[in-house]
Symmetry: C2
Subunit: 423 residues, 2 copies
Amino acid sequence: MNYSTLSKEEQNLAFAEIKKKYQALQREKLSLDISRGKPSSEQLDLSLPLLDMLSSNYKNPKGAGDYRNYGYLDGIPEAKALFAELLEVSSDMVFVAGNSSLHLIYDVISDAYCFGIQGNVPWSKTKVKFLCPVPGYDRHFTILDKFGIEMIAIPSSPIGPDMDLVEQLVQDPEVKGIICVPRFGNPDGGIYSDETVERLANMKVGASDFRIYWDNAYFIHEFYPDSPKLKNIFDACKTAGNIDRVIEFASTSKITFPGAGVAVIVMGENNMKEFKKNAFVRTISYNKLNQYAHVLFLKDSETVKSIMAKHAEMLKPRFDTLEKALEESFSDCDYVDWTIPKGGYFVSLNVMQGTAKRVVELCKNAGLILTPAGATYPLGIDDLDRNIRLAPSCTVQEELQIACNVLVCAIEYAILEKLTTEE
Amino acid sequence: MNYSTLSKEEQNLAFAEIKKKYQALQREKLSLDISRGKPSSEQLDLSLPLLDMLSSNYKNPKGAGDYRNYGYLDGIPEAKALFAELLEVSSDMVFVAGNSSLHLIYDVISDAYCFGIQGNVPWSKTKVKFLCPVPGYDRHFTILDKFGIEMIAIPSSPIGPDMDLVEQLVQDPEVKGIICVPRFGNPDGGIYSDETVERLANMKVGASDFRIYWDNAYFIHEFYPDSPKLKNIFDACKTAGNIDRVIEFASTSKITFPGAGVAVIVMGENNMKEFKKNAFVRTISYNKLNQYAHVLFLKDSETVKSIMAKHAEMLKPRFDTLEKALEESFSDCDYVDWTIPKGGYFVSLNVMQGTAKRVVELCKNAGLILTPAGATYPLGIDDLDRNIRLAPSCTVQEELQIACNVLVCAIEYAILEKLTTEE
């Protein structure tokens, strides 16, 4: 409905109507949650054969050391080769670690804070700013905030951040990084354009320890086989003579099991040398048996793509349900818009300005948990109080339909509440 | 042989003899390594059934969430309960993490450095000293050195560090910690006495962020069922009103698979609250499927003890071989002594003063890798150039016998070389 064209009286009537509807939903005592990007139980079942890959008949691969013992700090060669193939880089650029790419992001930020990057002043001893395309991933902001890094929100669209602004701000030597999810971004589901990637690779930066933290969490997580590709930023940086500008992160958290997958960090030669030196201090080796089980299960790029196609079969209908619900209610409403991702785990929803917090509260009071309003902004501050991240992946279809009813009702409620109480 | 009673001429003759013996060993082109405390391949075979614990028939335990998905940051309840039983603490004191207790040690030191402990000044902004019982574990020293922490070597015997000295030094508010392996210590294989534990728990410290970093890496790794127990330091600290003084670390790295095991950190309530807050920033969750497989395999304290008895059957003969070789050659030699551990992975060997580096070099040149001389001291500096850590666990018996021949020959060589060239 296009609420703005309604008369005050019509608004009051509509609000009374929506209140009734909301109260009816409340009486259903729902308990639903579309707050986090978690795979559904049926998606996790796809990876159950992973648990058969190793057994008490275990043998080390021919010519290799004993993967049950210490060693191979940077990962087993088979895992390095697999991720190199998947991410289209050379395997000496790949360090295969533990179960969490977020932990790897934490580690490199922490290393920069404690020890500095390539001989530069440690960030604990100098002012540090980061560019944060918004809406963005709350857990990135949590890490940066923990280290006292000033976060500068950069307006972003599905094809990438406002590059004019980025190019201007990176000239400041206090700006030491930009952190982003370039493909099927969290939360807008976009894919950075070739131009964005090229400009990131070629821009002139003020700090020699400036890095692009390229959280490629959904690098292969597409709903359609012909989803647009992301330009290889290492290739672009290499051409620009900036191979050490980028540090890439990825994992199998949403290919196999979240929390029991394998995470990787990808870097050029100088960064890798420094990362290995620091990693050696932290640990003796990562879980190579889990790496090896993953190699045996995921095999190669073709196999991974076929697995991801099965995930897509389960994810796509959920995103369709959500999109349909929003489309049916708000296609002609100027106050509400949302992204239509071609992969990943999230939809970025903009509700009427000044009502995002209220929508989340209304949903909560009707038994539907959403990601907190503001979570997609540094320090949780969305000045316009507008953006909400939606994650429909983990809810079964029937419940998701109900969740959508609650969400739509809450959005309408908040709009009409605001319109009817405004002067 | 008691070299000190030999005449100069006899020494020269003996040196000529030992040189021939050494050259003969060199001609054998050996390639042996007793440098790191790694389980042998046959020990690792003991844990192969662990790999059968989970399969594609996987079901979540009744009443639990989905262990394949995110969640349970501090570990699954079953794993917390198992480690609580093993370490004789309550399960709310246990945080079950990833595969590496060294990484957990790194994390808490890093947290203290970056953010400070319980509101105290972050260590990045103040002078920090640590007490390091020596000989000690090289990887501890590597972490402390990385964070610029001044390490004060504390002479230690198998019953613990010189507590008079410790009690005196901890009054200095710059002394923020002591890091130690209290049972089957690395490298001396000792067990801290009840008195040592009591004094550590009760001593008056100058810094409110002073902590005991209790690396209980070999807490259950005994060669004999009646091996002496280690007094529970949490009980002692609780009685002393100092429950937050201790942070304990342990893992299954030498119960199941090094690198593919499960690590834990154990703390009182205040420390745990802070650790969880920091851990939340680092990661979403650890590998719960590996935790669950471990619970199913290790079951309970009795099962773990029976597994450790099998490890002991394989380890004990190796330690016997090493001890016998040293005993046969050096029982009446004032220059050489060594520890006789009742568990763990190491023997601490003292050779003639000023010859440890030379012994390691001689061994290397005859194809036997030892832990570098000095590694058991902060910054790798053993002022007396005397101590060498021996790790016989990973070598098969026949090879270990040969390794012992090389070692004994090198020790004798170095003694005679020194005696014959001295004035």
